[in-house]
Amino acid sequence: MRHPSPLTWFRFHASDLGFAGWLAFRGHLVRCTDCRERCAREVRERLAFEGESPVARGGGAAIALRFAMPAVAIIAMLVVWQLSARSGSRPTETAMNDQDTFRPKGSGTFDVLVVRGDEEVLLGERCREGDALQARYASSSSKQMMVVGVDPHGTARVLFPLDGETSQAITPGPNLVGNSWVLDGEPGRERFVAFFSESPLRAEDARRAARAEKPSLPGATAIVRDCVKAGR
C-alpha cells in the first residue's frame, strides 16, 4: 500500500489538496489505520501550534477558533471512522468545502467514483466485481436527496439514506455519501439514481421511478449513473 507522500501531507495541512486529492487522501485514510492515527495526531499538533502562533495571539480567540473548527471537525470525523471501522460500518460523511475545485451546476450534481487501490476515478461505462463505489453530490438549491441503486436483476434499494423510508436533508456541498457500495459478480447493468427535491421523497416512489427506463419523479430532478458489469 502506497502511503501519502510528505508533499500530500503538506498540502493536507495547508488545505490545498483539491477535491480529487482530498478524495484520494480520504480514501487512503479509510483503509490505513497508521495514517488515520497519524492524521489525528498531527491535527491535534496543528491545533496546538496555531493556538500559539503570533497571528492567533494578535487576532484573539476568533482567529484561533477559525483554524480550530476545521481541525476539530477532522478529529471528530477520524474518531467516528475509528469507531465505525471496528463495528464494520461506515459513518455518514459531512460537508466538505472546496469551492476552488468543485462548482455545482444547476439544481444538483451527482457523480459516482470507483475506488481501485489508492486511486479514485469517475465511474465509466464498464465496471467490475469488487469495485468499491463512492458517490459525491452537491446542490445549491435542493434541500432533499435520495439515492437508489438498481441491480442487474432490477431490484431497487435505497442507498442514501441507507434503506431509509424518506429522503434526507442535504447541505449545498460538495459532499460525499458516507457509505460506499461494493459490486458483486452478477453481470448486467448497475444503476445509481440521485433524486434532488425541495420536499421529502418517499422511498417507495423513488424505487419505482429508479427502475423506469428514464427515471423521473414529480417535483424532483433525477441524475442517473449507469455501468455495465461483464460476467465472470
Binding site: S5, P6, L7, W9, F10, R11, H13, A14, S15, D16, G18, E42, E45, R46, F49, E50, S53, V55, I63, F67
Partner: protein, 167 residues
Amino acid sequence: MWTRGEIEALYRKTSFSIYQRCRALLHEDAEAKDVAQEVYMHLLAHPDDFRGDASPSTYLYAIATNKSLSRLRARRLRGDAWQDAVAELLRSAPMSHDPERTAAARAILTSALEAADERTAAMLVYHYVDGLSQGEIAEVMSLSRVTVNQHLQRFRDQAKEIADREP
C-alpha cells in the same frame, strides 16, 4: 504578484505545514520555526517570484525545502558530521529498510550538499528522503518529467556504482 494581505492569508493557512516540513529536515524545533519564518520573509521580499505554474502550497514546499537545506549547509558541517546529518534525513525515508540503497543515497546526497549544488540536493531529498513520484518532483521543481527522469536515472547509475564499489 502576491499582496501583503494574501501573504498573511497564506501564513494563516500554511504556517503549520511549513514548520512541520522544516522540522522534518532539520530535526530541531527552534531552528525549524526560524526557517519557517524565513520562508514568509522570502515571500514578502520576492512577491513576484511565484509564477502560478504550481499550486501555492507546492511552491512553499519547495522554498521550505531549499531553505532547510541551506540551513543544514550553514551549520558548516564537514566530513562525518555531514554523513550524520544526511543519515538523520534518511532514517524515516521510504527505502530506509534497504541498507544498500540508503548507503548509496547518503553518499550522493552528502556530496551534493558539500558541493552546495542546491538543485541536485533538493531533487535527491525529494527522491530518496520524501519518496516523491516523478510527477510530484517535476511539479515541485518546475521541471518536465523527462528532465526529472534523466536526473533520477543518473542518480540511480551513481548509486549502483557506489554499491558495486562496496566490498
